[in-house]
């Protein structure tokens, strides 16, 4: 049995334990922390056994599950999925720590977080399309509940919208997967859902041209890309902080991951032909997301729109088909995962202590909560791409790749980065400086359990910002498999 299987099962075991311990809600957070902590430590142990230099998938396991249809329980990690896998185990752990004071239906809450963890880890490690799809769907349900139960005022609308939007997208993906399954069976002579095997097949162009748009649509909804992004702001606004953190930090990455792993790797030729479309969508996301972020009064909505803008960087990086651009896109996924987690945590702290997230009702908070404000601005800096933070290296690489592929289009990408500076600083100034409304006079500063996860994220963001190679080393293979050109060949 692969260690991945154990890591996938652990949260489920934790969730079952929580089910049994329903009558003692005060225990549930300890169960959740131990469980997510164990998964995180387990993933670190796994990481130590990962050979960065080797090609292909590692920690493989393949167990026949549904042989008639060529479905098996196949998991493994490669350079593309490993960073995202690690990101997930880390964020889940931190989110549980952050949720220290959740008492409302605590066993259910933590149980959902654990199921969500299994789902996301499954998506990133599945090597069978069927398994992939199943985990993909499994992720929806706990998130639906997290938003719907612990969310804000319009939570039921937001949770339904989230569920339906993403479900439709995944069904479209299912259709595309079905089509590829048969096409591959024609060539191979046997039925298989195995991702590596189907990837090897190589489809003809006409088929690719049909399937790629479907896959693009499916993953773009998740990413999300303008114009199919509208579920995201609603979901974020209503979601509790922990759910937002995971939504932005990990769930959006599923879209980017799928795009690379499925859409681009299986339909490379069509992907090249559709480059114009993808680039337009990406630019639209980057610029539109940034502009809309400007006019938001709800801090969380602002961050949600900034996520859309930043995921546009991922999309255009992938579309550049350039080693550096793709590396930047993958890097951006991890970077955005860490940074958006910080952003939403910071936003959660404000909501928690000041009682509102509406910028117009905030002000002068720096004098009341200097530590929280410092963390918030550092997160903002990280997100707006100030050098030294991870976000910068990601955007830097993406822009470099875009410049190599599309020339001066990069100025539009840069516009997104400039606007980010604008909306973040403007928001920060209104929140942290200016006159403080009277009702905020009693604000307390950040709690330790809110500070700790943010500090961990901050340290990682800066460390990887200054030493990106530590991470890039693990991503090399994924870039290579997509462009056919090793990222390291450039130096030879």
């Amino acid at each position: 049995m692969s260690i991945i299987t154990i890591l996938l099962a652990l949260p489920l075991v934790g969730a079952l334990l929580l089910l049994l311990l329903r009558s003692q809600p005060q225990l549930s957070k300890y169960v959740a922390i131990i469980c997510t902590g164990a998964v995180f430590i387990g993933s670190l142990v796994m990481l130590s056994g990962y050979e960065a230099a080797a090609d292909g998938y590692q920690f493989l396991q393949e167990t026949k599950w549904f042989p008639a249809f060529g479905v098996s329980f196949a998991v493994g990690l490669d350079s593309l999925s490993l960073p995202l896998f690690m990101l997930t185990t880390l964020l889940c752990f931190l989110v549980v720590v952050y949720s220290w004071d959740v008492t409302e239906r605590a066993p259910f809450y933590y149980g959902l977080l654990l199921v969500l963890e299994t789902g996301v880890l499954g998506v990133f490690s599945a090597l069978d399309f069927f398994l992939f799809y199943i985990f993909w769907e499994v992720v929806l349900i706990p998130m639906f509940f997290l938003i719907g139960i612990w969310g804000g005022e319009r939570r039921s609308y937001a949770s339904m919208k989230f569920l339906i939007y993403t479900h439709v997208a995944s069904l479209i993906m299912l259709l595309a997967i079905g089509a590829m399954f048969f096409k591959a069976a024609d060539v191979l002579g046997y039925y298989t859902f195995s991702i590596p095997e189907i990837t090897e097949v190589g489809f003809d162009l006409n088929f690719e041209l049909l399937v790629f748009p479907a896959l693009l649509f499916a993953f773009c909804v998740k990413l999300p890309v303008v114009p199919v992004h509208t579920w995201l702001p609603d979901a974020h606004v209503e979601a509790p902080t922990a759910a937002s953190v995971l939504l932005a930090g990990v769930l959006l990455k599923m879209g980017g991951y799928g795009l690379i792993r499925v859409a681009y790797m299986l339909c490379p030729t069509a992907a090249r032909q559709y480059t114009w479309l993808v680039v337009i969508l990406a630019l639209l996301s980057i610029v539109y997301g940034a502009f809309v972020a400007f006019k938001q009064d709800d801090l969380k909505k602002l961050i949600a729109y900034s996520s859309i803008s930043h995921m546009g960087f991922v999309l255009i990086g992938i579309a550049s088909f350039d080693e550096i651009g793709i590396m930047g896109a993958v890097f951006q996924m991890v970077a955005h995962g860490l940074i958006s987690a910080m952003l939403f945590m910071g936003c959660g702290v404000i909501q928690h202590h000041a009682g509102t997230r509406l910028i117009s009702r905030l002000g002068g908070l720096y004098s009341k909560m200097p530590a929280a404000m410092t963390m918030l601005i550092l997160a903002f800096f990280a997100s707006m791409g100030i050098p030294g933070f991870m976000g910068f290296f990601a955007e830097f690489s993406v822009m470099l790749g875009v410049f190599r592929s599309f020339g001066w289009v990069v100025l539009l990408v840069a516009l997104g980065a400039v606007l980010a500076v604008g909306y973040y600083l403007w928001a920060f100034q209104r929140v942290a400086y200016g006159t403080m409304p009277a009702e905020l006079a009693g604000c307390k500063d950040i709690h330790w359990y809110e500070m700790l996860p943010m500090l961990v994220l901050l340290v990682l963001t800066i460390y990887f910002g200054l030493q990106p190679d530590v991470l890039v080393e693990y991503m090399e293979g994924s870039v290579e498999s997509l462009t056919g050109l090793s990222y390291w060949d450039m130096e030879a």
Partner: protein, 505 residues
């Protein structure tokens, strides 16, 4: 050893910032924090003085001292490469000198001292980094890092419209930086296509250009040069990209203004010489005339606007725009003497503008206003401050015998041999400069003090204000009389660039 020395110089302020922050957290006594900050800020200065002693004045131009290069981000060919030459050494010295002086000057600051001094030291680190970085990525990193402490200095300790000024400052310079970044991309990618080596190492790229006999293709140069120029011109700032500067200055606290005018503006000029001129001499020649015209417009327009100001600080801000125009004009003349004068102007203006903002800040502090209309007769109330103000103004006007005179003389002498018409037009600005300074002196400092002013009995210079001004004033005076060290150093720094430009013409 010498590489280590430079690293120490670069990271001491960073360490100092951490020390001040932690010390300030542990002990909230203002006196303790001030003393700690002063002590910590003196260390880089000491290191820098030691480096000056080690400095090799004989090294041929184009070579770096205290040089070192370490691989950093291999995946993108990014290195940690730092070094000093005659171009950067004066500016680094300026930075490390001004930091303790500003700390001293801020002795009566009350608000959140711990953060204030931490930011100042961070700013110092960023600024030194900009001047010593010889890798495009590293350069860009420090270039952007400088923005953050300055942003907070304006935001936290600024005047009434500080929020507007801070964000304007940040966004203006950030836009410029990104455009510059795209230009850098183009250079790096071209280098990759030529050599097959993907590197951001500026030294490697410029070596390749200089020794390999190749140069960037002209059409590419004509695109990249404006991109880089835009990035640097906003920072200098040149009309029409200057509008952030008066706002930032007016709102910034004195310490911030000093750094802003004395050092941060020099980042633009330094970048222009080092990267734009150094890598693309052909384009520099190509765009010389428009640059010269921009320089002249900056000089004149800045001076005229300064004449119209009622706020003393705003007047000084516009005078900075005007003086920085001289820098651009001198460079665009592509003539050795003018070029050296322009580069020297950076150092000279650094010292003098620091003094200008200091006296202005002290005035505001003790009298409570900077509005020329509300002042009058300050000289009789604050004789010592007024005396040093007069000295400073004259230095800025370019009185012979003071440092401000030398670059102006060099630029105009050099320029006159190239283009008489433009030089004459540029010299008009000198007249306006003299006019606004003298007029301001007359209105604000001489004449009868208002009853209000007399009533207030403002403090004259205190010891912590006198010391920085004296240090700077002595330097201005000594170097004005005996400029050889600094002119030699500058000539050593610019020599190879002038050769490049000469080779093109």
């Amino acid at each position: 050893m010498s590489f280590d020395l430079l690293n120490i110089l670069l990271f001491l302020p960073l360490l100092g910032a951490a020390v001040v922050f932690i010390g300030g957290t542990l002990n909230k006594q203002p006196a303790f924090i001030k003393g700690l900050a002063l002590a910590v800020s003196l260390l880089p200065l000491a290191v820098n003085l030691y480096m000056l002693a080690l400095y090799d004045w004989q090294l041929p131009s184009g070579n770096y001292q205290f040089f070192g290069s370490v691989n950093w981000i291999d995946s993108l060919g990014i290195t940690y490469t730092v070094g000093l030459d005659g171009l950067s050494m004066p500016l680094v010295f300026l930075t490390s000198l001004l930091t303790p002086l500003v700390v001293l000057l801020s002795y009566d600051e009350h608000k959140d001292l711990r953060t204030f001094f931490t930011l100042l030291l961070l700013l110092e680190c960023g600024l030194i980094g900009v001047f010593v970085a010889l890798d495009f990525f590293l350069f860009y990193l420090f270039w952007e890092l400088v923005l953050i402490p300055m942003y907070f200095l304006i935001l936290g300790w600024g005047g009434p419209r500080r929020r507007y000024a801070a964000i304007k400052f940040f966004i203006y310079t950030h836009v410029a930086s990104l455009v510059m970044l795209v230009g850098i991309f183009a250079i790096v990618i071209w280098n990759f296509q030529q050599t097959g080596i993907f590197t951001f190492d500026f030294v490697a790229i410029s070596e390749m250009l200089r020794s390999g006999g190749v140069s960037l293709p002209l059409n590419l140069q004509y695109l990249i040069f404006p991109a880089l120029f835009f990035g640097f011109a906003v920072k200098i700032p040149t009309v029409p990209f200057h509008t952030w500067l008066p706002d930032a200055h007016v709102e910034a606290p004195t310490g911030g203004s000093v750094f802003l005018a004395a050092v941060m503006l020099k980042m633009g000029g330094y970048g222009l010489v080092r990267f734009a001129f150094g890598l693309m001499p052909e384009a520099a020649v190509h765009y010389a005339l428009p640059m010269a015209v921009l320089g002249i417009i900056s000089m004149l327009w800045g001076a005229v606007l300064a004449l119209a100001q009622d706020d003393l600080k705003k007047m000084i801000a516009y005078s900075s725009v005007s003086h920085m125009g001289l820098l651009l004009f001198g460079m665009a003349m592509l003539q050795e003497r003018a070029f050296n004068g322009a580069v020297l102007q950076m150092f000279a203006h650094g010292l003098i503008s620091a003094m200008l903002f200091m006296v202005c800040g002290i005035l505001q502090h003790s009298v409570g206003t900077r509005r020329i209309g509300d002042l009058g007769g300050v000289a009789s109330v604050l004789p010592r401050l007024s005396a040093i103000t007069v000295f400073t103004f004259f230095a800025s006007v370019g009185l012979p015998g003071l440092l401000g005179f030398i670059p102006e003389l060099q630029v105009f002498l050099g320029a006159f041999s190239v283009n008489k018409l433009l030089t004459v037009i540029a010299m008009l600005s000198m007249i306006v400069t003299a006019a606004y300074y003298l007029w301001a002196l007359e209105r604000a400092y001489f004449g009868q003090p208002s009853a209000d002013l007399q009533e207030k009995k403002p403090h004259d210079l205190q010891w912590f204000q006198t010391v920085p001004l004296l240090v700077l004033g002595v330097l201005v005076l000594v170097l004005g009389v005996w400029p050889a060290p600094i002119t030699d150093m500058v000539a050593q720094g610019t020599g190879y660039i002038i050769d490049l430009l000469g080779g093109v013409r």
